[in-house]
Symmetry: D2
Subunit: 459 residues, 4 copies
C-alpha cells in the first residue's frame, strides 16, 4: 500500500569514527534517521585496512539482520538510508558506494542533489570515465580521481568546488572520515560526540538515540575531517550565508531534532500560532492532519483558544496490509488508513491544520472524511506557504504539473479539496516561525515556495 | 522487540451476514480491530452449506494474504483477532474454532474470560468430553453439544446460563449468525448495518472502516440472531444492569470508537480535565506519554491552561528492529523507541500525563528520559485510579504481584518511578469522565481498581 | 509447481523414548521420512509432566526452525510428516493431535486410513462426542475416552478392535510411548534402538540417519509399549497373516529402507529382472524414468544384457521455479523438469522402465520427450501390474476414473501414452520380486492391482 | 547446510536476440544453466533504446519472481548465473554489469577468469579509471572505453587481444548482442536458434529446455555478433587450437549437454569403461558416488560385468534443513545427506566410482558410510586423473594445499580416505574417453591434472 502522502526527502547520512562497535552505532544512527528514507539502507565499515560494505532494500532493520551486523566488525563506519526518487533510475543500488583506486578505497554516501551533474558527467566521460549508475556520489568519485591535487583532502575540495547544488557527503577511507555540507548549507549536517568517539549525522535525533552529545551544526561550505586525532575543519568557500531547506522544518525532519540551532517541533508550533493570527476563523475544534499537522495544530489551538481535538485517527497497522478492497467495497468507502471521529466533529465547525499541501490528494481525502462524519464546516489551515515550484535540491518534486497549486488560485485549490475555506501562512510568517539566527538575510531556502534557487538550477 | 507496555486485551470479534464479499468485509473489520490483538487472526466463512476456516499468526495482514482471501468466498463470516495471554497455553491455536456435529457445523469466536471454566470442564470430562485446547469456546461447544434442548438457540441459551464471567461470543452455522454479550456487558459488542448486510463487532471503529452504520450496542445478556430475515433478539437473563469494563475506555479501545454510547477519546479527555482539577500542579508544559496519554493530556492542558507540548517522540520504525544493542551500547543508553525533546523540556517543570500505570516500567523509563533531557521537575498525572487488583474477565493481569501498586503506597510508587509527584484520578472522577448513562448505578466494571467483581471470580 | 507424479502416500510416523535430545532425534527421524509427506510436520514432546506440541506447514525443515527446536526440550517425542490428500478436509491441521483428559494428556499420530470411521463417528456423536476435524486420530481419541476399560492400554486395545482399515498409530502420554500396527500390517512400522533409547518409525531409513540399530518389524496386530523399563508387547488380534502394502515396495518407500525384512531397492531391481524375462524386447538401450524407475531399470538391463543409460535428465532446481512459461513459450515446448539426452536416444530403440502408471500423464510426457529427441522406438516396461483399483488404506487413489487403466485395455493405454509397446509385470512376478517370507500365502496387499481388500472397504 | 562437495564452476551465461519474450526466454535459459552457479542470477533486457537490469541473490527462481519478470519486457536479453568464489570479494554484486558511456550503454556478463587482470587494472587505474568491483567484466568495460578504435566491435577485439585467460563474454547494447569465446576455447559456448530468434549459451541444455535447435559451438577466438540481420562472426586470433576445460566433461556440465560435439554423459560413461580396463578389481557390486559418479559407474559396470547397484542414497530434502545436529547426536553419527544401503553392501566387496577427488572429504565420508554398513572391501575408482594443480581459468581451486593430492602419493590418499584400494584413470584414458575431434593435438585443457596451462597463468 502506497503512502498517500506525496512528498519525500532523498536520504539521511551518518558517520562514526573511533568506536569498537562502529557498525552497531551506525545501525542505530540509521534507525533514528529512518524517516528520511525507507527504500534501502547501507553501510561501509572500516576494519583495519579493509573497507567492508553491506547494503539492502527496505528499512535498516530489513537490510541488517543480526548476522550481517555481527560480520561488520570495525572501528569506523558511514551509513545511508535511501528514498528512491521517482523519475530517477531505480536500479542504481543503494549507498554508500565504494570505489577502488590503485592503493586505496573510498566510500561515499550522499544526501541532496547536484544541479550540474549532467555537465560534469559529460566532461568526465569525454575524458574516459565510465559511469555505472546515475548516482551523484559516482560523479564525485570520478572528479576526485581525475583531480591533479596530490592529497585526498585537496582533491575533495577541488572536486566540490566544481559541484553545484545541495549536498551532505560522508566519505570514508582507511585513514579518515570526512563530511561536507554544501556552501549554502541546504541539507542539514551535525557533529556530535560520545566519549572520544566523534560522529556526524543528518539530524540530531541520531545523537539522542545513541546517548551522544551534540557539538554543533557543520557550517555551510565546511568539510569536517575526523581521524584518531579528533575532528578538524577545512572550507570549500568563504561563507556565502546559510540557506537551509525550509521543508526540513515544515515536514521532513523529526520533531525532536534541532537544525541549525532550531528545534523542529517548536518551529512547527510557532507556525501554527502565527497562522492563527494571520488567518483566524471562528470554529469549534482544531484538528490536526495526522501526524504531520500535529505540532502546528497545537500552536494554532493555543493561539486561537479553540480546543485542540483528535478528530482523525490513523490506523497504525495500515502500512502492513497489502489487500486492496474490491471495487464494490471501495465504492462503499472502505477506510484503511484514516478514520474521522464522529463524536468529535459531528455538527462542528472544524479548523483542520496541515503542514503543507503538495498534490492535494490527502487533504481532499481528509476533508471528505470529516464531512462524511458530520462536520458542519472544514477550514483548512496550512502551516507553510503555497507550494508552487519544483525542487532541484533533493526533494522528490520534479514537475510543477503534479502540484495542486499548478495553474490554480487558492480559491481553486479550496474548491478542489472540498474545504469551506483555505489559508496558507505567509512566507514572512514561516520565516518568523522558524527564526533562523542568520545575519545575512533569509537563512532559508524557500525555493519551492518562491522560486528563488540559492544554489542554481531551478524550474 | 517486545512492547514495553504491559497491559493487553484478549481479542476482538467481528461477524457479518448477507454480503457476497463477506470474507473481505471480515478482513477489513479485523484490520480495524487489530489493536485488540496482534498475535493471530482467523475467520470462518459460510460458502453455501460449507463452513471454511482459515487462521494464521500475526496481524490480519499476515494471516490473510490476497490468495487466501480469494479462496474464502462466501456470504457470511465471523472473524477474530487474538492476543495470546501469558500464563495460558500458547499452542492452542487461533480462533474461531470449528466444531462438527452429526448434521451440522458450528464456528465460535470469543472475547473475554470465563471464571467457572475449570468446574464446567471437570463436569463435562466426567461425562466423556475430550478437550483439545484450553479455549473457552471449546467449553461452550461441549455445553451446547450436551444440552438436551432441541433447538440450537435454546441449547446456546441453556449453555450460556451455566457460564460465569465475561464474554462476547460470535457463532456461525450454515443457517445463521449469533452474537451474545454477557449479562453484565463487561466486554463491548455493537450491531451495525450496510445496506441489507448486518454485522456485529467489538467496536464501532470496524463499522466506520467499512462505511457501515452503527445501529446500537448489543444489550447485556442479549443474543442477537442474524439470518436472511435480518436480526432479532433473545435474552439470557433479565437485565441485571450494565457493568462494562472501564479499562476499555481508559486504554484498550480505539479513540474513535463509541462504547455503550460514549466516545472513547472524549471520555479520556474528560478524565484529563477532571484530573487537572483534582490534582493541579503549577508547571510549564503538559506532555503526554505517547500514544496512550494523548487524549487525557489534551484535556489536562485545556483545563489547566498549561501549554500542551510534544515532549516525547516515538520512533515509528522501532517495532521493526530485532537488533538488541550490545551490552556496552546499552549502558550508553541507546534509545530505540522513545526520545525526549530536549528543546521542549529542558529546564521546565513538566506535567506528564499517562492513562494508567501497570508495572511501572514504562513510566519509570519516560520519567528518566525527561530528566536526562533536562526537565527540572516531572509531575506524573494518571488518568485512571490506582490499579491494584487482578482481572479475571479477559485482561492480561493475573497476579497482583506484577503490579507496581502491590504493597506500595502512592508515595512509594512515585519514588519507584523517579517522579517529583504522582497523582491518580479518583474512582468517582473516572466514573464522571466516562459518564455512562446507566440507571442502576455504576454502569462500569472497575474491579481492577476497587476489587468489586460483578460477574464472580476475583483475586 | 505441482509435481507431475500423481501417487502419494499419506504420512510417516516416528517415536522415541528415553533420550535427552528427543525432539532433535525426532526432527532428524522426520527428515529421513520426509518422502512420505511434505505438506506439514509436527511433534509432541514430553518434558517432565508436560506434553508440548509444535506443528507447521511444509517440510520438517520449514516447520521446525532452530529456535523452535531449542524450545522443545524433552526426553520422549512422537513426530509426524503429512501429505494432504485430495478429497479430504485440508484445513484439519497437522499431526500429532493432542487431547486433554481430566488427569492426563494423550498425543496421537497416524499413518493409514480407517474404513469404518464414518460409522464409528456417527455412533460417537450420538453419544455426545464433538469432532473438530476429520482426522482418524480424533476418532481413536474418542474411542479411548469412551472405553470402559480401567487402564489406558486396555482402552487402546478395545478401541483398536473396533477399528477397521490400515494404520500405524504412535501415542505418547506422560508415562509411556505406544505404537500399534494394524492386524494385517498394511502400513509398515519398525522398532530400533540407540544405546538405551528405543524408537519406532515408518521405515528403517530413519534409524540409519540416526545411527540407530534396527531391532525388528512390529508385527501385524502388535502394540509396542515403551517406557523407562524398555519395550514390551501386547496384541490386538491373533495374527491373521501379514498383508503389507505392495506399493510401499513399488513406489513409496526409500530404496535404502527394509520393510518386513525386504530391502526396497532390491525388490525393485528384482522386479526389473523378472520383467525382462516376462516381457523381453530387442532394444539398444534401457532408460529409467527418473527417479522412480531407476532400480527396476538396472535390473532390467542386467537381466536383458541391454546397456543401461541415462536417457532422461531431471533438472534438480525445477521444484523451485514458480514461473509458468507464457502461452507462446509453452507451445514452443519449454521443458522445466525433464530433458531427454539426444546423444543417447537419437535413432535408438529404447526400453523405458517405469515403476508404475497411475494417471499416465508423466509416462505420456516422457515418451514424447524421447520421441522428440529422436528415439526410433519406445517400449514401456512397468515394474508393477496394471493399476486398476482404488485404495482405501491411505494411498491417495480415491476413484478409478482418474486411472488411465479405467475402461482401457493395455493396448489402449499404450496408444494413449504414445509408446510402441507396453508391458506390465505379472502379479505373480511382483510377488516373487518382493519375496516376502510369509507362511500364510500372499503376505502382500495388492488391492490396487487385483481388488482384493484384506481389511475391508474397497471400491 | 554447506554442500560437502568442494569443486565449483564460476558461472553460466545466456543471450537471446529477437524475441518478444526475451526476458522469459533468458529466465528459462538460466534455469537450465542453474547447476553452473546458485549464488545469484541477473539479466539485462533491451527494451527499445533502454537497457533494463535486474539481479538478485540465490537461484534464478529466487532472483526473478513473476512480478519482476513481467516488468522486464524486451526483445533481447543477456543473463548470468553466478557462483561466488572463495577468496574473491563477495560483495561485488551479481552480473551482468551495466556501463553507461556518453551516448550508449553496454551490459557485460562473464564466465571464466582473466590471468592478467591485475596488470591491466594497474595500467587502467594509472590512466584514471575507477574500479568499483573486482569483476573481470569491469576490466573489459574500461579497456573498451579506453580503446581508440572508432567502432564498438573493433574496440572489443582490441580489448580482448590484451586479455589473457579463459572467458566467454556476452555483451548487449541497444544495437546488438555479442558473444566471445577465448582463443583456446577453455570455457564452452554454443549458438542456437528458435525460428528467427538466435541465442548463445554456456551449454546446449539451455537450448533443449527452450525447444531451440543447436547450430554449432562458437569457435575458439570467435566473436559472434547478432542483430536483426542474424548472426555473423569475427575473430580475435587465428585459431591456436581448441583447449576446452576437461573438468566440464568430468564434473561441471549437465550430462545431457554436448560440448564441442561431445555428449557429456557419454564421455563420463566412456571414462568408466576405460577405468574398468585400466584398473580392474574383482568385486561384487559397482556403486556410484551420488550423483556425480553415476555415468562413470554405469560404464564401469558394463565393461567389468560386475552388477551396478544403488549402494548410497541421497536424501533429496537435505539441502533444505538448516538444523545442525547437537554435539552428542553428531557423535552418534547423524546422517543428513547420504545413507548407505545396508542390504546392498553388507558383506560385499564394493567398487565405488567417483568422478574426481578434490579435497577428499566426501570420498572419506562415503567410504566410511559403506564400511559402517558392512562393506567388506571398498575399492575407489576415480574417473579423472590425480588432481594436483590449481586452476586459474574459473574453477574454484586456488591453492594446491587444499587438495588431498598435495604432498601425498596415491597410496597416502587411499589411506587418508580409508579405502582398500584407489585407482585413477590415466590422462590418456580421459583424453580417449572424451574423444574431442581436434586436429592439433590434445584439444583439452588438463592443467589441473598436469600443470600445463594453455592460456598462461598457472600455479
Amino acid at each position: 500500500m502506497l503512502d498517500i502522502r506525496g512528498l519525500n526527502e532523498a536520504c539521511g547520512v551518518f558517520g562514526v569514527w573511533g568506536h569498537k562497535d562502529a557498525a552497531e552505532m551506525a545501525y542505530f544512527g540509521l534507525h533514528a534517521l529512518q524517516h528520511r528514507g525507507q527504500d534501502g539502507a547501507g553501510m561501509v565499515v572500516k576494519n583495519g585496512d579493509r573497507l567492508i560494505r553491506h547494503r539492502g532494500s527496505g528499512l535498516a532493520a530489513d537490510a541488517f539482520p543480526q548476522k550481517t551486523l555481527d560480520e561488520l566488525k570495525g572501528t569506523a563506519a558511514i551509513g545511508h538510508v535511501r528514498y528512491v526518487m521517482s523519475g530517477v533510475h531505480s536500479q542504481d543500488g543503494y549507498q554508500p558506494r565504494l570505489f577502488h583506486f590503485q592503493k586505496s578505497s573510498l566510500a561515499i554516501g550522499h544526501n541532496g542533489s547536484l544541479v550540474n551533474s549532467h555537465e560534469l558527467r559529460h566532461a568526465l566521460e569525454s575524458e574516459g570515465s565510465i559511469f555505472q549508475t546515475s548516482a551523484d556520489s559516482e560523479t564525485l568519485a570520478h572528479l576526485i580521481r581525475k583531480s591533479s591535487e596530490p592529497l585526498l583532502l585537496d582533491k575533495l575540495k577541488a572536486s566540490l568546488k566544481k559541484i553545484q547544488g545541495s549536498y551532505t557527503f560522508v566519505l570514508l577511507t582507511q585513514k579518515k572520515l570526512m563530511a561536507a555540507r554544501d556552501p549554502q548549507g541546504i541539507r542539514p549536517l551535525v557533529l556530535g560526540k560520545l566519549g572520544e568517539t566523534y560522529m556526524v549525522a543528518s539530524e540530531t535525533c541520531a545523537f539522542d538515540t545513541l546517548g551522544a552529545t551534540y557539538i554543533r551544526d557543520v557550517a555551510p561550505g565546511e568539510i569536517v575531517i575526523i581521524d584518531d586525532d579528533g575532528p578538524r575543519s577545512d572550507f570549500i568557500a568563504s561563507d556565502p550565508g546559510l540557506r537551509v531547506c525550509s521543508m526540513e522544518f515544515v515536514y521532513f525532519a523529526r520533531p525532536d531534532s534541532n537544525i541549525d540551532g532550531i528545534n523542529v517541533h517548536t518551529s512547527r508550533k510557532n507556525a501554527g500560532r502565527i497562522l492563527a493570527k494571520e488567518a483566524p476563523t471562528p470554529a469549534d475544534v482544531v484538528v490536526p492532519s495526522p501526524d504531520s499537522g500535529i505540532s502546528a495544530a497545537i500552536g494554532y489551538a493555543e493561539a486561537s483558544g479553540i480546543p485542540y481535538e483528535i478528530g482523525i485517527i490513523k490506523n497504525r497497522y495500515a502500512k502492513r496490509t497489502f489487500i486492496e478492497p474490491s471495487q464494490e467495497l471501495r465504492e462503499l468507502g472502505v477506510k484503511l488508513k484514516l478514520s474521522a471521529v464522529r463524536a468529535i466533529v459531528e455538527g462542528k465547525s472544524v479548523v483542520l491544520v496541515e503542514d503543507s499541501i503538495v498534490r492535494g490528494t490527502t487533504s481532499k481525502h481528509i476533508v471528505a472524511l470529516l464531512k462524511e462524519a458530520g462536520a458542519k464546516e472544514v477550514h483548512m489551515k496550512v502551516a507553510s506557504p503555497l507550494l508552487a515550484h519544483t525542487c532541484c535540491y533533493g526533494v522528490d518534486l520534479h514537475t510543477t504539473k503534479e502540484l495542486i497549486a499548478y495553474n490554480r488560485t487558492t480559491k481553486d485549490i479550496c474548491r478542489a479539496i472540498g474545504a469551506d475555506s483555505l489559508s496558507y501562512i505567509s512566507e514572512a510568517g514561516l520565516v518568523e516561525a522558524i527564526g533562523i539566527p542568520c545575519s545575512k538575510g533569509g537563512g532559508l531556502c524557500m525555493a519551492c515556495f518562491n522560486g528563488d534557487y540559492p544554489a542554481g538550477g531551478g524550474n
